[in-house]
Symmetry: C2
DNA sequence: TAATAAAGTTAGATTAGTCTAACAAATTAA
DNA sequence: TTAATTTGTTAGACTAATCTAACTTTATTA
């Protein structure tokens, strides 16, 4: 049985490769994702290697073993199912579900997750638009295209957010954006890296960083 | 923010006084309830005293402070609400809910519990018949009378179980008993401490210990 | 390619929660 | 009321997860 901490390291490793496409994850990057010091991550990697959850050698790159990946996907499945439960059944808002799910994802009971999945009618996406792995660990492929990739004058549909932090999500809501909204890119000011978009007839300016955190199709 | 462990000590202290009516809880009793050694409990008591959660002095009796009691009641509220959720919404059986709720009860979010309470329509009793404290910490008084108190020839209604362990609950189901069932005490054999009961027309022999763990009215 | 910077590791310390073994206090019984 | 038993505490050690500070390796750049 893995500890909360071990599960978090595995999840972070998978998340980093998912989000950044970067399969050359380093100690610093991992440590900063988990908000610990590199020394701490370095220690933990030894332990995870010992348990055959990661492959790595000193100063080399870190990769999940197949066992590690399966486990990480399971943690993500738990996280996203709980988020969906909180949002759909308990009527939490979009930006509140992540932090509570961070705790709930570590409850150990396969049966609990299977029954929760059924209760929610086997959802394929969580409230942030992220795909939920099924009981076999399979998930729908997610668009890698962000609002930053849409050229001036074109429209797209928002399907998910990259950053799941409460602060970002609150901002997204403030801007009037949500999953499935149609967004039109009106113009870009290269000088200050601002994009002017239109959503439901309302025009807003957003930063480059903002556009890179909105997944679209 | 209290740790899981601290919460478990407080809950155990309250549970012991509740269940046994014994307000003179000792280190050994507490330790055995938590499945740790007395030395460990002794150490933890210092810490809980430091945090003003228990009153106690060396070799003296242990009592919860008002803060400690409030916290313990809150842990019990969380536990019983989660049990109710598992039983009513996820269709877990009676004997499966306790162990999972032991984990869920430590999720920290007041809003989560309030919303869960509402989602379940403010239940007053959990699947084992135990009262669920409301958001103010108030709970329905529970019968202290057990099946052992019913005299030969008389009938009663089962309202709760004292022992919540999966093994006991499985046995209760096997015997054909459940909450709200009417039980008639047919006879008692003082020699081997056996009671013969009738439930739904079926006669069974149960031990003294069994009858002491069934609350009735 | 040599110097500098960045990234990663090791050593030693800390905290929470646990243990065993030895000891001390309180209670029970002879 | 003394001896035996039970109950409770202390001391010292261990593990997991973390830290800081010092050091090593790898990468970058002048």
């Amino acid at each position: 049985m893995l500890s909360f901490t071990e599960e978090n390291y595995l999840k972070a490793l998978l998340q980093i490769t998912f989000d950044s496409g970067n399969d050359n994850v380093g100690t610093n990057e991992l440590a900063s994702a988990l908000d610990v010091k590199p020394a701490t991550a370095s220690d933990m990697l030894k332990k995870l290697k010992e348990k055959s959850l990661v492959d790595y050698k000193k100063y080399g790159k870190i990769t999940l073993t197949s066992l590690g990946k399966t486990t990480a996907i399971d943690v993500i499945r738990r996280h996203r199912l709980w988020e969906t439960f909180l949002f759909e059944k308990l009527e939490f808002s979009w930006d509140e579900v992540h932090d509570i799910a961070e705790q709930l994802e570590h409850i150990h009971s396969q049966k609990l997750i299977d029954k929760l999945d059924k209760f929610l009618d086997f959802p394929e996406f969580d409230p942030h638009g992220d795909p939920i792995p099924n009981e076999k660990g399979e998930l729908k492929v997610q668009s890698k295209k962000t609002l930053a990739d849409i050229t001036t004058g074109n429209s797209c549909k928002m399907v998910a957010v990259k950053d799941n932090s409460s602060s970002f999500l609150k901002y997204v809501v403030e801007v009037g954006l949500g999953i499935n909204n149609v967004i039109t890119v009106l113009s870009r000011q290269e000088f200050d890296a601002i994009t002017i978009i239109e959503v439901n007839g309302i025009k807003t300016s957003v930063s480059k960083r903002f556009t890179e955190n909105i997944y679209v199709i």
